[in-house]
């Protein structure tokens, strides 16, 4: 009975990768969660994500899987576009491709190196800032044979990026070796209305996060309780006994009033007898309370 599974609700902030810590023992070959993200640490409620700087720091991984798992290095490129211009190379992601014994492949240890802006790029970017236009990036949707089916595109208003330098934040949603989506933007807020602000220095401050899908919490199964049989049934709490007052107040109040009425009458009776000695039996009831009260 006590092994009723409790679904632990979990927290997901965008920069933070967390995974379910439910007690459910899945028989499915699950990928090692620790290898997924860069943060890696199982602290689902940590308020601040660990940021990776460019060149990024990856969480140390322990080699703890069978030798069948093999690693290989791969690279894929980031391309950018200013407004509606064509895409041009802007940087390179490099990662280790881990092949699991069951055939699945995942990326780990993502590193990112950003090409610095050329003068031409700076000029274009300044134009974007002036016109409050979009700065767009794209990466291939398949990292092994780019571009896969299509590029995944993301864009942000250029005015969201400049701070000290240019702050950017990538969240790459992966499914095996496929990139589902890349979310690109500033690591913090970008308040509206956006003000024109040129960056002090033209260097990128990049944060990258790799994300994989989480497992959904399972529906709670209360089978033990059912199997518990009589014991369980015995424990079914009878509906809490309501107090006497709660049950019968609607009868008690009128009753109280009647009693009060009777009591006042009874109290009047001796009085009446005292006063009305001259004419006994003339008035059956006592005098009206109104009269007495006067």
């Amino acid at each position: 009975m006590k092994s009723v599974k409790v679904i632990v609700s979990f927290v997901l902030t965008l920069s933070l990768f967390s995974f379910p810590s439910s007690g459910f023992q899945s028989d499915e070959l699950l990928l090692d969660d620790e290898e997924f993200g860069l943060e890696g640490s199982p602290r689902p409620r940590s308020p601040e994500p660990i940021l990776t700087r460019s060149p990024p720091v990856t969480a140390p991984t322990r080699k703890r899987h069978s030798d069948l798992d093999s690693d290989s290095k791969i690279q894929f490129s980031l391309e950018h576009a200013f407004g509606d211009s064509d895409f041009s190379p802007a940087g390179t992601f490099s990662a280790r491709l881990k092949t699991w014994s069951h055939g699945g492949q995942t990326l780990t240890k993502l590193r990112f190196s950003r090409n610095s802006f050329t003068d031409e790029d700076k000029e274009k970017f300044k134009n974007l800032l002036k016109s409050d236009d979009f700065y767009r990036i794209r990466i291939p949707s398949n990292v092994l044979n780019p571009p896969g089916r299509d590029f995944v595109i993301s864009s942000v208003k250029a005015r969201c990026l400049p701070r000290e330098g240019l702050d950017e934040h990538f969240v790459i949603h992966m499914e095996g070796i496929n990139v589902l989506a890349v979310n690109y933007g500033s690591p913090g807020s970008c308040p509206y209305p956006r003000n024109l602000k040129l960056p002090a220095k033209w260097s990128f401050n990049s944060h990258t996060v790799l994300k994989n899908s989480e497992q959904a919490p399972r529906a709670p199964v209360f089978t033990e309780e059912i199997l518990g049989g009589e014991n369980a049934e015995g424990e079914v709490v009878p509906p809490p006994e309501r107090s006497f007052w709660a049950k019968y107040w609607m009868y008690l109040i009128p009753l109280g009033l009647i009693v009060m009425n009777a009591v006042t009458q009874a109290m009047n009776m001796p009085e009446e007898q005292a006063t009305g000695q001259g004419q006994p039996g003339a008035v059956q009831r006592g005098p009206s309370p109104a009269a007495r009260r006067r």
Partner: protein, 988 residues
């Protein structure tokens, strides 16, 4: 003392009064029909068969395009019984066997069923298999018997079956293996034991098989080649002759196969008709000796005389429909011909061998809104003077069904309402002098009488007749069917668009049709061959400064089935049903985006996206353009390419750069894309919030006086994907191969806010999105049960605003504008529960201000609507909630969602073929209006938190008045009594 003793009964009385005010959870029996109505339909009739036996004379059996077989009353058009077959069980043919069984062939000819004619009980069911897919034909010969067994002949799936009419047993069958053989007709000449199967092979060969009807033995097989090929259809002229067209549609062929000898007779159409042009098509009919062809707009009736000689009997350029032949007496067959002429239709019943003489000729005035006659079915009866009388059943373009007899429409059924595409609600006009359409006020005496009756009912003094009178009075309450706006907002117009391209306005009070209009723009025309109605949007909702205008709706339709076909817009007045304007567009309409801006006449701005990804602004006025230009950079939208598994986000770029200058056309650009890997994910459901939903509060106070802020964004999209393998039927994959991934995606930036995988789960997924939560329904393969999950999403960036002092001093960020380009800080909570039913549709109640708690409306597989409190789907439920949580209303966690029988909003009724549920807020905050549609329609009012803001409909004001009067009288009487008493005391 008297006053004090009076107190007691008064108190008791007050208590009774209070308890009678407490609202009820569900409906009482006598409240059925007070606020709800239910209408039964069958859909567009495909085939009708009249029962000829004595007892069944009053009935007609119909099969419809909604896969309904029904038995209708010929006198009134009411439904005796009705069965809705599944959506993949399309009816191919119906007939009556032995005078008491209805035989239906369905599912591409693989299921043959027999139903009892009087009550619709199924008698037997046979599964007919065959080697290959083919046309399916059903033939019930009247006097073909094999060992006293009446026989049904079915050709389906490349096999000819003879089935016993009594028990559905297959007596014999015969395969037609020839690869290219396409069956056209199965003929059983009356009075013989032969069956002819005729058809085409390899498109240029005519094949004839002669089969012994007793044992299925092949007696003869002949084939003849016709070099220029055949054109699909054939028309049966006699039991041994068929008429066909060659592949160019210019030469008529009469093929006779008398005694097994096939002979062709060719007649060029130009020989028969002088000015024929263009290819002809055969109109399928089965009138002996006569067939009809159609070239361009001309219908030509041709008689076959003798050996393949043809004679034109009539050419007409009116729209014409012909019925099948009906044997009326020995050797005589009659048929009905309906022709349109202006606002009238001409009905003629003729004998097959005598074209010029009419048995019957009638002209009937026909409502223009019904369009053309599509089908005619003829039936005869014996008149009082013993002569033959005829009545015809006609199916109109708007899918309605009418019975014509003695030159009048006896009854009509609006069966177009069985196939609703889209629904929207419209307000009624405000009550002003001369506005009220229906005068239904009655005089004071009746009012008083009604209230006295009600009072009697309340005091339980009413006799059974009185009770009946009260009930009928309540049901007929004139208040609810008035044509003006009411204070509570219960009276509205439901505007529905049907598949036939007809708009109906239904009154929410009693469900009657206020107006109906067959859209001209959805009429077939030269420019637009096969228009399809797509959607409906509220174009103009006048309030405040534009109250004099009538509201109007925008109907979007398309010329043809492909998404690249040009679109058609029509604007329809919601009060009168008049088509105000219609525009044939040069571009396609792939997506319609109602923008949250209106111009000075309250016309809503709409952005139409075409197939070339250009955006077009409507209405095309400079004022609209001005408003649009101001918000130009704040307009974002998304598109879902389900086949490719790509979701894209778009924004506007600049004016169109085409050769034609169009200032209302804009180029677009892609901002983001999400590409689902095609080998592992396939999109099966996308859901967004309703654009007009009102959220009362952003904050949610939880048990320990803490506050959580809902993440309320209009730009959230729920997407569900499944493994491509698992997109089939439930049970077709193992749990290991199947998974369901759900996403919450921000549609402005393309951010994936939440992504979670359900392993071992499978679609179909039904979901509903409201406020900050989404509820979705799917199948759990591991648990072998349906499951429902809830995801709630909360905003963490505002979570610090808990300090009262911060709020007082204004140091909070609650009023600062939100930009979606900021990195969102959200948390999600989710939980899953088992649910017993599979689901056809999910909706959520919506109220005027969003204060009232929500209920999920679940359309169950049994075609009912179940109301489930949202509190059951609260991710904060736990097994043992704390006292504080209990007070907040959190229900202890259970593994499955309860189904309380009283919470079916459809109570005892069924909305057959349920497809959609629409909720419309009433003006009264506690109440929401619910409209469920499928083949049937159902409407009711719901109060998810009970009607806390009004007295119930049947509240007796008379009783209240009487009580007050009695109280006042009692006060006076007792006062007088006490006065007198006092006086007596003083005199003592």
């Amino acid at each position: 003392m008297a006053i004090r003793s009076f107190f007691v009964p008064f108190l008791l009385f007050a208590l009774c009064f209070n308890s009678s005010l407490t609202p009820v959870l569900s409906l009482y029996e006598d409240q059925v029909g007070l606020m709800d109505w239910h209408q039964q339909y069958i859909g567009k009739v495909k085939q009708a068969v009249f029962s000829t036996q004595k007892t069944g004379r009053r009935r007609v059996i119909v099969s419809t395009e909604e896969n309904v077989i029904a038995s209708l009353d010929l006198r009134h058009g009411e439904i005796f019984w009705r069965h809705l077959l599944g959506s993949n069980d399309v009816i191919d043919g119906i007939d009556i066997g032995l005078g008491k069984y209805v035989i239906t062939l369905s599912s591409g000819g693989s299921i043959l069923r027999s139903w009892n004619l009087p009550d619709g009980q199924m008698v037997w069911e046979s599964f007919l298999q065959g080697p290959k897919h083919s046309k399916s034909l059903l033939l019930v010969p009247t006097n073909l018997k094999i060992e006293k067994d009446n026989v049904i002949v079915v050709f389906s799936n490349g096999r000819l079956h003879a089935v016993s009419c009594i028990d559905g047993e297959v007596l014999w069958n015969k395969d037609f293996e020839a690869e290219s053989f396409e069956v056209q007709q199965v003929i059983q000449p009356p009075g013989s034991d032969l069956i002819y199967v005729v058809g085409f092979a390899a498109s240029s060969q005519f094949e004839m098989y002669q089969i012994n009807a007793r044992n299925g033995e092949l007696l003869k097989h002949e084939s003849e080649t016709f070099s220029s090929g055949f054109f699909r259809e054939v028309s049966l002229v006699s039991s041994e002759t068929v008429a066909a067209l060659d592949s160019t549609g210019s030469i008529l062929l009469t093929i006779s196969f008398q005694n097994g000898e096939i002979s062709f007779q060719q007649t060029p159409i130009s020989n028969l008709v002088e000015d024929s042009s263009g290819p002809a098509v055969i109109i399928p009919s089965s009138v002996p000796g006569i067939f009809a062809i159609k070239t361009n707009a001309i219908t030509i009736f041709i008689r076959v005389i003798g050996k393949g000689k043809l004679e034109v009997v009539e050419t007409t350029n009116h729209e014409t429909a012909v019925s099948n032949a009906l044997p009326i007496s020995e050797g005589q067959q009659a048929f009905a011909l309906v022709q349109h002429a202006g606002s009238e239709i001409h009905l003629a019943v003729k004998l097959a061998h005598d074209w010029d003489g009419n048995l019957l000729k009638e002209s009937i005035k026909m409502d223009q809104q019904r369009g053309l006659v599509h089908k005619v079915f003829i039936n005869n009866y014996i008149r009082t003077d013993r002569s033959h009388g005829f009545r015809v059943l006609i199916v109109m373009e708007d899918h309605s069904l009418l019975l014509l007899q003695q030159g009048a429409v006896v009854w009509s059924r609006e069966d177009g309402l069985a196939s609703i595409i889209d629904v929207t609600a419209s307000e009624l006009p405000v009550e002003r002098d001369g506005v009220s359409v229906a005068k239904v006020e009655h005089n004071l005496f009746e009012w008083l009488k009604g209230h006295m009756l009600k009072l009697k009912g309340t005091l339980m003094l009413a006799s059974p007749e009185d009770v009946a009178a009260i009930q009928s009075m309540r049901l007929k309450s004139s208040e609810k069917s008035k044509m003006t706006r009411d204070h509570n907002g219960f009276r509205k117009l439901l505007i529905v668009l049907t598949r036939a391209g007809k708009l109906f306005a239904l009154h929410t009070g009693d469900g009657r049709i206020v107006w109906s209009h067959l859209l001209r723009s959805l009429h077939k025309s030269e420019a637009c061959k096969s228009p399809i109605g797509l959607n409906m949007y509220q174009w103009q909702v006048p309030h405040h400064h534009a109250l004099d205008e009538n509201p109007s709706v925008l109907v979007i339709s398309r010329c043809g089935p492909s998404s690249g076909a040009p679109g058609v817009l029509s604007f329809v007045d919601a009060y009168t049903g008049k088509e105000l304007n219609s525009l044939s567009l040069v571009h396609a309409v792939v997506q319609v985006i109602p923008l949250p801006y209106t111009d000075s006449t309250e016309q809503r701005l709409h952005l139409l996206i075409d197939s070339d990804k250009h955006a077009h602004l409507y209405p095309k006025s400079s004022e609209a353009l001005g408003i649009f230009k101001r918000e130009f950079s704040n307009i974002y939208w998304y598109s879902v390419e389900e086949l490719d598994g790509i979701i894209k986000g778009h924004a506007l770029k600049c004016k169109c750069t085409g050769e034609v200058a169009d200032e209302f056309c804009f180029d677009t650009r892609d901002l983001w894309s999400v590409v689902f890997p095609s080998e592992s994910e396939k999109i099966i459901a996308t859901v967004t919030r309703k654009s007009n939903e009102v959220v009362h509060t952003q904050a949610k106070v939880i048990a320990d006086q803490d506050v959580m802020y809902k993440y309320i964004s209009r730009n959230l999209l729920f997407v569900a994907t499944v493994a491509p393998k698992g997109s089939g039927e439930i049970g077709s994959v193992t749990p290991e191969e199947s998974w369901l991934v759900v996403y919450l995606i921000d549609t402005v930036t393309g951010r994936i806010l939440h992504r979670v995988t359900h392993h071992g789960a499978q679609g179909p997924v039904h979901a509903v999105f409201s406020e900050n939560w989404v509820v979705y329904h799917y199948f759990n393969l591991r648990a072998h049960r349906y499951e429902m999950s809830v995801i709630e999403i909360y905003d963490q960036s505002r979570a610090d605003n808990k300090d009262v002092w911060k709020l007082v001093l204004g140091k909070h960020n609650l009023t600062s504008p939100i930009s979606l380009f900021s990195r969102p800080e959200v948390i999600t909570k989710s939980q899953s529960y088992f649910f017993t039913h599979s689901v056809k549709a999910i909706a959520v109640t919506s109220t005027a201000k969003g204060i009232t708690s929500k209920q999920l409306l679940i359309g169950t597989i049994g075609d009912q609507v179940l109301a489930l409190d949202k509190r059951f789907l609260d991710p904060r439920r736990s097994v043992n909630p704390t006292q504080a949580e209990k007070e907040e209303g959190i229900i202890p966690l259970t593994d499955s969602l309860p189904i309380i029988p009283q919470s079916y909003v459809t109570h005892a009724l069924r909305v057959e073929g349920l497809r959609g549920i629409l909720t419309v807020p009433a003006k009264l905050e506690s109440t929401t209006l619910v409209f469920a549609h499928g083949v049937d329609l159902f409407f009711t009012q719901l109060a998810p938190s009970r009607t806390y803001d009004s007295l119930t409909e049947d509240f007796s004001y008379a009783l209240l008045l009487l009580t007050i009067v009695a109280l006042v009288a009692a006060i006076f009487v007792t006062w007088r009594l006490s006065e007198r008493k006092e006086l007596q005391d003083k005199w003592r």
